[in-house]
């Protein structure tokens, strides 16, 4: 059947990109429509974003340095998701990681640079990991969905950090910040670009991302971690220690978020600011799901989100629209990316009924396959 071959060929090509390209296309069109509704031409909008994010040395440097926290938070969410867990608490883990890093650096200030900097960063990652652990523990012991526990812990983390920085760990002002960290903990600027310059932090983040991707896809440990996420029962039956891998991936996820916070402290602000994060933790979730938690493509979504974040004030200045528009764009793209790449089913339906290359279809929809998402064990079966 010619129609079928076309559909399946197209399907195979589309599989290269982790989310459905047609869906994303629709999402972009929706954004354009929304722009028109707001009285702005989509092209002007795109231009303003480009301008605001990359239109000058200062802007470009700022955008580039934003990539670090976005990438790391996204990587954290992605790693947890590979084990079928959702870490929504990156914001809190990151903030506590940043605060912990600043505090440690200040208190251990005497250490030389070669020692203090890595330790500081590690402390941040550790605190992030610790803050993530209770959620996975609750899930395994009590069956509480980790989304709720991480969300609740988020709020607690934000209030905790606030209290600490306005109180005992702060510099005494009402701004809500610590004192500056000692020079031994400062990540030096790598490239003097504009007024602030960029450190090597984004490169390190990209490298981590790349390594994580390789580890997941090509090593037997990564294989086990992914198996634990895509079929816990089957993985257990094959001897994979599923619970252990879930804990490991979730703790790693928290560590990534904590690392993001620590890097913000040592590389960008050189202290902990109460308001240092415009929501990087939540953006990490968007970054991860825009590419279906595939570490190999995180760089693209982080780039996009960094640009959006950087440009939001410029959007207000040049086009007169609220910076919150950026959130709307993110949301629309995220919705589009979340749709399973089953658009080809809709096309195929137009050509012929019931006909799809896989078995078990009911009225054109893959009910059997959709049920495979997570099924309870011990179902009765006869022959299928």
């Amino acid at each position: 059947m010619p129609g079928l071959t076309r559909a399946s060929k197209m399907g195979k090509a589309l599989k290269l990109f982790p989310v459905s390209l047609p869906a994303l296309g629709v999402g972009i069109v929706c954004c354009m429509v929304l722009a028109l509704l707001a009285g702005v031409s989509p092209f002007a909008l795109f231009d303003a974003i480009r301008e605001g994010a990359w239109g000058g040395k200062d802007a470009a440097a700022a955008t580039a340095s934003k990539i670090t926290p976005l990438l790391l938070n996204g990587l954290g969410v992605a790693m947890a998701y590979q084990a079928d867990l959702l870490n929504i608490g990156c914001e809190g883990q990151m903030r506590l990681g940043a605060l912990a890093a600043a505090t440690f650096a200040i208190f251990a200030g005497g250490l030389p640079w070669g020692v203090l900097l890595p330790l500081t960063v590690l402390v941040g990652a550790l605190v992030g990991a610790l803050w993530a652990f209770p959620a996975v523990w609750l899930k395994q012991r009590r069956g509480i969905h980790e989304v709720i526990s991480t969300l609740l812990m988020n709020y607690v983390a934000i209030y905790l950090a606030d209290y600490l920085v306005l109180g005992p760990l702060g510099d005494g002002t009402v701004v809500g910040r610590t004192v500056e960290i000692p020079s031994g903990a400062i990540w030096p600027v790598f490239w003097h670009f504009g007024r602030t310059g960029i450190t090597a932090a984004p490169v390190v983040a990209l490298l981590l991302c790349f390594l994580a991707g390789i580890w997941l896809m090509r090593t037997s440990w990564g294989f086990e971690a992914r198996a634990a996420g895509s079929g816990a029962a089957a993985a257990r039956a094959a001897g994979v220690p599923v619970d252990r891998w879930q804990r490991r991936m979730f703790i790693l996820s928290g560590a990534m978020a904590g690392l993001a916070g620590a890097l913000e402290t040592v590389a960008v602000h050189h202290r902990f600011y109460r308001a240092f994060s415009p929501g990087y933790g939540f953006d990490g979730i968007t970054a991860a799901f825009l590419v279906n938690a595939d570490p190999g493509w995180l760089w693209l979504s982080s780039l996009l989100l960094a640009s959006l974040r950087s440009a939001d004030k410029w959007l207000q200045l040049s086009l007169g629209i609220s910076p919150a528009v950026v959130l709307v764009i993110q949301a629309v793209l995220l919705l589009a990316a979340a749709c399973r790449p089953d658009f080809r089913f809709l096309f195929a339906r137009a050509f012929f009924k019931n006909a799809l290359p896989e078995d078990g279809k009911e009225n054109g929809e893959n009910v059997a396959k959709a049920r495979l998402a997570t099924l309870p064990p011990d179902r009765e079966g006869g022959s299928p």
């Binding site: 294989f223 089957a234 993985a235 078995d359 078990g360 396959k369 064990p377 009765e380």
Partner: protein, 559 residues
């Protein structure tokens, strides 16, 4: 219009040239078939012949790619099961469609009531009366207010039957209703079908078990590879003839052996003892508590010698699954000991047991053994990802894995378009073959197989049995757990039956008869006949047992 042959009874349902396709695969090809009013019409064929597809077309689950369906002479098009229900057709599905946390009463009332009536608070009282009446009439022992997930398989099937009877469906479709019932429950179901026919219902009965078919059917239609071979009066044919029709295409490729396989015979076996008669696998007084997963085991003891094939049969929910899971290492043992090759393995992890050569095929491969979204080759690698040829220092040698995977698939005759396709896209039979290939590769020291023949067509089942026997000759031991006594009788050296978490009996194959095994499956002791506290064994048709009695008897079974 097609004039029916025979006694001129008007066909209540007629299929005219119905074809249904899934992609390139034709599940039904040009089927024209008449169903007469008031008859029990059996549709037989092996797995994959298209029986279920045809019924799904009739019931509105699927739309045919060509052809039409006539109901009482008039053309009908069903867009969904709702239309079919409105037309008076009801279906009891093979994989029961029930709502686990709703009570039996709610299960029946959910959806559109009789004549699209409401099921609000006033109607529920009336509905309850009506349901109790139907239960009494047909001898259902179903407690109406227990959540369905706590009921046994047979009771849940009764819920589906009740649902279609309550809606006054005149045409009933039953898809493989007996595959998970014990012999006595099968008898009761067949008696029920005869009663229903007396009441004027028309029944379409799908089965691959010819003995049952011949017990009740008026006419039999044979499907093979999507085509209708013919419709025959039951009185005028024999099981042998029908069996030959079902599988005759494979005549050239050793059809004689396949026929035998279909009839439940196999090659004559002699136990091959390669080493000391001391047991390879020994379970000593194992106790596992009842749980959501089913009845546990109580003081259970079993031993399997090296080179032996032990078959375990049971009715669903009597601890047979728990048995497999504790041997595999998926469930912890509360009390008792498991010895494998002289070592205590009760505390060993699954991976340690795999290293010892103890492998397990779960009952539900999709949920319990496969990663549906991952490609075929990764599914084959699962469990072996740390073995030497496939990885070194953690780095997976993908070309090597792909090569090995390709070989395994070819050996197992798995049909798939590519090693990188997601395994969820394979048909059920191919998935079963894949998991079997994975479990039996190695080869293992001992394989615990749950329902190994499930989803396989006759030919594949025969090949599987040959493979098991061949491996056994080389010294591999097997523990095969199945609900299909034929499967067990075909390959086992000894057969045991699990009832309510205890071993009800074990017999050498030469002494094991279906009657004996059937009695054990229901806990009926050999000497004294029926025991007084066995609900369901001898249910009085007029007075169904009270719900509390039943809930206590079959509580957590069937999960």
């Amino acid at each position: 219009m097609h004039l029916p042959a025979g006694n001129g009874t008007f066909p209540i349902i007629a299929f005219r040239g119905v074809s249904a396709r899934f992609g390139p695969h034709w599940a039904n090809r040009d089927i024209s078939l008449d169903i007469r009013e008031g008859e029990i019409h059996a549709v037989v064929g092996e797995n994959g012949a298209g029986k279920t597809t045809l019924m799904k077309v009739l019931y509105g689950h699927l739309r045919p790619d060509s052809g039409e369906i006539l109901l009482k002479g008039g053309r009908v098009v069903f867009h969904s099961p709702r239309d079919a229900m409105r037309a008076g057709i009801g279906m009891v599905h093979q994989q029961l469609l029930i709502f686990p946390q709703l009570t039996a009463l709610e299960n029946v009332l959910a959806g559109f009531g009789r004549r699209d009536g409401r099921s609000g608070i006033r109607q529920r009282g009336q509905a309850r009366e009506e349901l109790l009446r139907i239960c009494r009439l047909f001898g259902f022992d179903l407690p109406l207010d227990v959540p369905a997930e706590g009921l046994s398989f047979a009771r849940r099937q009764q819920i589906e039957l009740l649902r279609i009877l309550y809606r006054r469906s005149k045409i009933l479709i039953l898809d493989e209703p007996t595959s998970l019932l014990s012999p006595l429950e099968v008898e009761r179901l067949l008696d029920l079908l005869i009663s229903l026919r007396k009441e004027g219902h028309t029944i379409l009965f799908i089965s691959h078990r010819l003995a049952e078919v011949f017990a009740v059917a008026d006419r039999i239609s044979v499907l093979r590879r999507g085509r209708l071979l013919g419709t025959f009066a039951a009185r005028e044919s024999t099981a042998k003839e029908i069996a030959r029709l079902i599988t005759s295409e494979e005549q050239a490729a050793g059809g004689a052996a396949l026929e035998k396989a279909n009839e439940g015979e196999g090659e004559r076996l002699e136990p091959v003892l390669l080493s000391l008669p001391s047991p390879l696998l020994e379970l000593r007084r194992i106790t596992v508590a009842d749980s959501e997963r089913g009845t546990g085991l109580k003081d259970f003891s079993l031993s399997i010698r090296e080179g032996e094939i032990l078959g375990i049969g049971a009715v669903v929910g009597n601890g047979e699954r728990v048995l497999a899971q504790i041997v595999a290492g998926m469930l912890p043992v509360e009390r008792g000991e498991i010895m494998f090759d002289g070592r205590s393995i009760a505390r060993m992890s699954v991976s340690a047991r795999l290293k010892l050569g103890l492998r397990w095929l779960p009952a539900n491969p999709i949920e319990e053994a496969l990663l549906p979204s991952r490609p075929v080759w990764e599914n084959l690698l699962l469990g072996r990802q740390r073995e030497k040829p496939f990885q070194s220092l953690g780095w997976i040698n993908v070309p090597r894995v792909l090569e090995w995977a390709g070989e395994q698939l070819k050996d197992a005759e798995v049909v798939c378009s590519g090693l990188t396709d997601p395994v969820g896209s394979l048909s059920g039979g191919n998935q079963q073959k894949l998991v079997l290939a994975r479990v039996l590769a190695g080869p293992p020291r001992m394989a615990v197989l749950e329902q190994p023949g499930r989803g396989l067509d006759i030919r594949a089942q025969a090949r599987l049995r040959q493979r098991i026997l061949a491996m056994n000759e080389k010294g591999v031991s097997f523990l095969i757990i199945s609900y299909d006594l034929d499967e067990l009788l075909a390959v086992s050296h000894r057969i045991g039956i699990v009832y309510r978490g205890a071993l009800a009996g074990v017999a050498e194959r030469s002494e094991a008869t279906r009657e004996t095994l059937g009695r054990w499956m229901l806990g009926i002791a050999d000497e004294t006949g029926k025991r007084p506290d066995q609900p369901g064994a001898d249910a009085d048709r007029e007075n169904p047992p009270s719900p509390e009695h039943l809930a206590g008897g079959e509580g957590a079974a069937g999960k």
